[in-house]
Point group: C2
Chain length 526, copies 2
Amino acid sequence: MIEYVNLDATKGYKALQDMKRSSVKDLLTTDRVRSADIALGGGLRYNWAAMPVSDEIVDGLQALADEEGLIDKYKALLSGEMMNTGEKRLVLHHLTRGNVLGVKIEKDGEEKGAFYASVLDSIREFSEKVRSGEIKGSTGKPFKTVCQIGIGGSDLGPRALYLALKGWADGEGVKTLNAEFISNVDPDDAAAVIERLDFETTLFILVSKSGTTQETLTNRDLVLETLKKAPVEGLVPSKHMVAVTSKTSPLAKDESMLAAFFMDDYIGGRYSSTSAVGGVVLSLAFGFDTFRALLEGAHEEDVKATECDIRKNGALMDAMIGFYLRNIMGYPSTAILPYSQALSRFPAHLQQLDMESNGKHVNRFGEKVSYPTGPVIFGEPGTNGQHSFYQLLHQGTDIVPLQFIGFRHCQYGKDIETAGSTSQSKLNANLAAQIAAFARGKDDENTNKEFDGNRPSSLIYGDKLTPKALGALLAHYENKVMFQGFVWNLNSFDQEGVQLGKVLAKKVLAGCEGDELLKAYADLLI
Amino acid sequence: MIEYVNLDATKGYKALQDMKRSSVKDLLTTDRVRSADIALGGGLRYNWAAMPVSDEIVDGLQALADEEGLIDKYKALLSGEMMNTGEKRLVLHHLTRGNVLGVKIEKDGEEKGAFYASVLDSIREFSEKVRSGEIKGSTGKPFKTVCQIGIGGSDLGPRALYLALKGWADGEGVKTLNAEFISNVDPDDAAAVIERLDFETTLFILVSKSGTTQETLTNRDLVLETLKKAPVEGLVPSKHMVAVTSKTSPLAKDESMLAAFFMDDYIGGRYSSTSAVGGVVLSLAFGFDTFRALLEGAHEEDVKATECDIRKNGALMDAMIGFYLRNIMGYPSTAILPYSQALSRFPAHLQQLDMESNGKHVNRFGEKVSYPTGPVIFGEPGTNGQHSFYQLLHQGTDIVPLQFIGFRHCQYGKDIETAGSTSQSKLNANLAAQIAAFARGKDDENTNKEFDGNRPSSLIYGDKLTPKALGALLAHYENKVMFQGFVWNLNSFDQEGVQLGKVLAKKVLAGCEGDELLKAYADLLI
């Protein structure tokens, strides 16, 4: 029987609070760099050598994970238990990339694994026909560009993944359809993208699970209106658009569109990159096999995350160390620092994934919790960040835990040697140097040049950012966030905090309905 | 006589600590929305109605600002006092856009105002010749694209400003040269950009004050190598490149380049957007008049920031409220939330500006301080963020102060009405709604749908994001950060925290020199 209790009701939490703190400086040795290192899926590894957790503390984290039954809860989720307690929904994003436990999940009159597999089949078939030129635009030209219209989870994840694979596809000689993204209701977002498009060869992908997202419907209308006015004879706007939505949404009933691909209520927006939400655009852009490889990497990591031994489970270790930094050490934010320009928008995706999942003040039963939950997440690629906000990370008055990501090889394969080293070596030399600098610090007579050190960091690393590695990276963070939600006894799968703003925005558009404060602000802005 | 004392040695700080706290919920009225509103430069306004500062507290902030002589310190800086005490340099970025006090500043055998004006003249002349086609590429074709190679302050500010003005230029029918940016030493950054370039019509702008920045020189070599190998007869790579650098740098001596534009040691990288660092690329992209207008807006704001009355000085008010939230309320981070897709990279620029300036643990004399200094800064445009990390902002266990930015009109002018309102109205209805939602919260029997409110926010708003408004916005934040540095008694103009990593990275590239820990990490990555 799985029990759901608050963190502060566990023995393990109290034990960790009473345990002797350890310092990164004291712990970090070359032996530890080699041993504090866990295999993830997709050929990646997670290294936690520079984290302030002694063997005793790791044992304490294991004990707490065991006491809270984190792996059992993960398995319950995988088995189709109603884990999204607020919205009373299953949580099935893992099933979009494989069946970890081999359990069949019957729901709404269908077996969900079979449903996701059938969607995948339709994505494969459609994307192959578009890429081969069998399906063409309404004026007879093959599609060259796909443009996703979506916001939040329908934008950040797919966009980050597309950018992450563009250089890989080019380096491998994989045929690529250019992808564009329109998300913001700000009309300048759509205008800037539309300016770059050749309508005859562009296929729009409209993504909204509910089919009612204000921004997405507005942008659809804006795009359709623009296409209608375009001076292209014979252009049929609706034949340049497909939908990704749930079967019950109004969009699913719109038969004017070229095709529709389905998801369901058991895939949260921020967890939807491996569903049709990411699948359609990535399969069109890079081919179905590329998306398939990404799913394989994610599934590999999902399997690894079932391991009970924290020293062999990277997602669990990352989650528990993150909890330790947040609740025992008291650090309120975490920086994501990929040394890979291809991951330029990956921190923005993780920002949503983490902050929307665990930025909660009530537990899964709706009771207020009295301990800090999800941290602030931010980040930019290195080395760029080194010339920007790293000053504060090194010498600021607060400590910010760091999550580095790096790869031995570049994607495009267009590197040169200057001053005795390649650009890629320079990039990774900087990464290695930063970890050491943050951990060890440096004494100096001039206090302005002094570094206290003891800045905790971890490193996810691998050979190259391939589709498989990317899938594993994505799943690693999804599972990390899930485990942390369990630790904090939260429901990580709803997002009630976004509702109030939506309601009030409608009120403003309806004339404020006597709400004088809204009217005062609206007067400044509209 | 100006005195420099630590925050915790002031009477004003103690007085504010003892003062009764106020709550956003209690304070926020429609009257306050109308009155807590200060004119900035460039037609912008700063509204602080939803900040938890009562009249008494604002008086306290004024008293502290007076006690610390913030305006006098600003005037000393403007007068050429050596404000960058660590590097023993003047701080003259204000002078790149006007002379606020009319004081002549003689240094290094020249009058600095005249020097910056002469650089501006050379930018005007060169950019006009390139845009008119008088200066062409080496194969005789006019330049259509400019590509800036720079990192940190030579990248983030100029890139953010370019993106901020692209839609405006299009909407106004201003002739635009496309701008691209290469920053990261990751070879995939350059490869992705180079793929898009037509070398014959591209002009590269190499930006490095010292002329020794590793990333920038590496990317210069990579670009020159690529150009040399390009199958274009008669292409002379160096004739497609100009430099922005200091007169004493190695780059200044490279006569093979088409032109050089100078800056000096008195302009910090993160403050260099209004110098040649931003001026060359913006003048080439949008014309000199556009850059000139940006400078005018910045200068207007610089003049307003000399006002002693905090209720009439937006930058001072923003700075003092920021200090209050950080040091009295104890909030460790701040989110920048522009409701303008054009400002998509502006938060990244502010992240550098703020965190690199005030992320310091020693005061301007090199003594450790015992109070928190600069906060973590992060942000993304709204409404995108609403569908992402706003969950935590509304319902997380920590409070994050918010800085909203909005404009009544869009830039492109390509808006449509759907469901009874334009996209721009929808955008701003959301903005108005969010401020109210964060401030007031909402009771609910279901605690999962309950919002505590009392989330502080401010709003900078204006008619439209024009070059002049953008200049004022940029200067507002520069001056805010400067005032906060004075409050914390910091030197906001050096960045010693970035040095250690550079030294260690060189060591890694040289084989680690017996540093076993570096070698262990290098073994994972290289």
